[in-house]
């Protein structure tokens, strides 16, 4: 039993041990031709790095983020110690992706509102924010931009490219766009393409944003307004799909927010209050134009499209080894979708391991430190030769 004093001391040491990181930006002036045909004359990618690139440059790991995260994967900022990276439980010294061994690169995708060039960035042609004029970008475009970042950092070949959800799509795409530049792809809570139901949810979210009177066709920056109502609803819809039915029931049940049913349209139930809170919080920091573009990138992703829907044919050019992880309670991107990926990899005789973690939390399980999941990643990364 520790004394309160000793616990406090430990707490201080923990705080001191927090890895201080710094967000950086890389500027690229060579135009980038996008999948949709538009050309970005120049762009910036926000990124962070953790650990040291070794002399052989063989220990680099690229982390790709999902819908609402950023390049801030791990550690904290000196001037903002409470701002802990979104995958800090996974990436850091002694963690499953051990930064004492690996040089980890977090990056923010194009079109984001967290630092990389996106709708809120100035359009060089006008000097004003791109807004609605920012082109629709794809997973392939993101990977192309990340490859430029890799070049800039002197990384010819990644030891691993990893991500969950939308991040997993980027990891998959890396093995297709740059087969020789990825040794291992870590593909978590993934799908090879969105289902009609997935697209339907995204469309409802987009309609919520676009029908907000403050949206103004995407030109809301000039008017000093934000389509907050649309963003809130979009986030509420998204959030429902990130949790399992069981997880929601476990967390909220039918617990009431007030002492009795109100017989009005206030938040009676805890779950309503929770969704409202999540929606409000999201609308404060997320950009509506970015949300539209990211959901489109999700909808469009389908590496098998050029191969008559044959995913195995699409993966014929992949050269990486793969670790695929799914969660049984994930109904957004179910285990069956991950097994499609595994089947395509087996058809191509790729080296692949597949974990189906019986976790109750739903899609969001990929962010939580289940010991089976983290143990597997620790073991897998431990076997990557440098």
């Amino acid at each position: 039993m520790q004394s309160p004093c000793l616990r406090k001391l430990n707490g201080l040491f923990l705080f001191r041990d927090a890895v201080i990181v710094e967000a950086k930006k890389a500027r690229f002036t060579e135009p980038l031709r996008l999948t949709g045909g538009a050309v970005l004359p120049e762009f910036e990618i926000a990124y962070e790095t953790y650990g040291e690139l070794n002399a052989a440059r063989s220990n680099a790991v690229l982390v790709c983020h999902a819908l609402n995260a950023s390049h801030h994967v791990a550690g904290t900022y000196a001037d903002d110690p409470r701002n802990v990276g979104w995958w800090d439980n996974m990436v850091g010294p002694g963690k499953p992706v051990d930064t004492d061994r690996f040089f980890v690169v977090g990056n923010n995708y194009l079109g984001s509102c967290f630092g990389s060039t996106g709708p809120t960035s100035p359009n060089p042609a006008t000097g004003k924010p791109w807004g609605a004029d920012f082109p629709v970008v794809t997973v392939e475009d993101w990977v192309a931009a990340q490859a430029r970042l890799a070049d800039r950092l002197g990384i010819e070949r990644f030891a691993a490219v990893m991500g969950g959800s939308l991040g997993a799509m980027q990891a998959l795409q890396w093995t297709l766009s740059y087969p020789q530049r990825v040794r291992n792809a870590i593909v978590i809570a993934a799908t090879p393409k969105l289902s009609a139901q997935n697209i339907a949810f995204n469309e409802v979210a987009r309609q919520a944003i676009m029908s907000d009177p403050d949206f103004h066709g995407g030109h809301y920056y000039d008017r000093g307004v934000v389509p907050v109502r649309g963003l809130r609803i979009a986030r509420m819809i998204g959030h429902i799909t990130y949790l399992s039915d069981d997880a929601m029931m476990e967390k909220f049940g039918r617990q009431l927010r007030r002492s009795a049913l109100g017989f009005d349209f206030g938040a009676d139930f805890e779950v309503e209050s929770y969704l409202r809170y999540q929606g409000d919080k999201f609308a404060e920091y997320f950009d509506a134009n970015t949300y539209l573009r990211i959901t489109k990138a999700l909808d469009y992703y389908d590496p098998a499209a050029d191969y008559d829907g044959d995913l195995s044919a699409a993966f014929a050019r992949a050269q990486a080894d793969f670790l695929v992880v799914s969660f049984t309670s994930d109904w957004r991107f179910s285990s069956a979708r991950s097994r499609e990926i595994v089947r395509a990899l087996l058809d191509n005789r790729r080296v692949v391991s597949y974990l189906e973690i019986d976790a109750p939390q739903g899609h969001d399980a990929f962010l939580l430190d289940d010991p089976r999941y983290f143990g597997a990643l620790r073991a897998y990364f431990g076997n990557i030769a440098l």
């Binding site: 087996l346 058809d347 005789r349 080296v351 391991s353 974990l355 019986d358 597997a376 073991a379 076997n383």
Partner: protein, 191 residues
């Protein structure tokens, strides 16, 4: 001679191997090290899946009861089912699947016809508990036991050819009265 050595002898160098119910991946590791045979294991148990990853063996966490839909026809040289047959609910469809995805199959199982098992039932009047069958009847992963005679009858029914058979007791091959004196049976079969 161990079961693993028997299996390794039957796996051609460089053969593509699928090990169903692969445990901690030890056999796959041995086949890679001694026969340079690349392979995949299928395992459902979390702890064993993790052990496979630690052993640097390809492992796929799947339920064998769901079949082998993840694997294409004739995509393996050898499909192994090592001491797992007795824990499968629907054995016949799995055996058929094994020879759909593989050219050959290797199947091993504890022989329920082994004299020690027979004596425990016939004389002591209780379900056998032994080195090969270490479980109490009410607390066992095993659901369908069989003897050499039973397995060979099933092979005949589904049209499998028995190419080779090794019967072991305490690591030693058994030649005479194998269904009585053999504790463990290892078969190599093809369609």
């Amino acid at each position: 001679m161990t079961e693993a050595d028997t299996i390794a002898r039957w796996v051609a160098p460089g053969a593509r191997v699928l090990d169903l119910g692969c445990g901690d991946g030890r056999l796959l590791r041995q086949l890679w090290e001694t026969r340079q045979a690349p392979g995949y294991g299928v395992e459902i148990d979390d702890a064993k899946v993790l052990a496979c990853l630690r052993n640097d063996v390809n492992v796929l966490q799947m339920d064998l009861e769901d079949g082998l839909a993840a694997f294409a026809d004739r995509s393996f040289d050898t499909v192994i089912l090592s001491e797992t047959l007795q824990a499968i609910h629907r054995q016949e469809p799995l055996l058929v699947e094994m020879l759909r995805v593989g050219r050959e199959a290797i199947v091993s199982f504890p022989n329920f016809g082994y004299w020690r098992a027979r004596i425990q039932i016939a004389l002591a009047g209780h379900m056998p508990v032994s080195k090969e069958l270490p479980y109490q009847w009410y607390d066992t992963p095993n659901v369908h036991h069989c003897t050499l005679v039973d397995f060979e009858a099933l092979c005949a029914k589904v049209g499998f050819q028995v190419l080779e058979r090794v019967v072991l007791t305490d690591g030693k091959p058994v030649a005479a009265f194998p269904n009585l004196l053999g504790a463990l049976a290892v078969y190599r079969v093809s369609a």
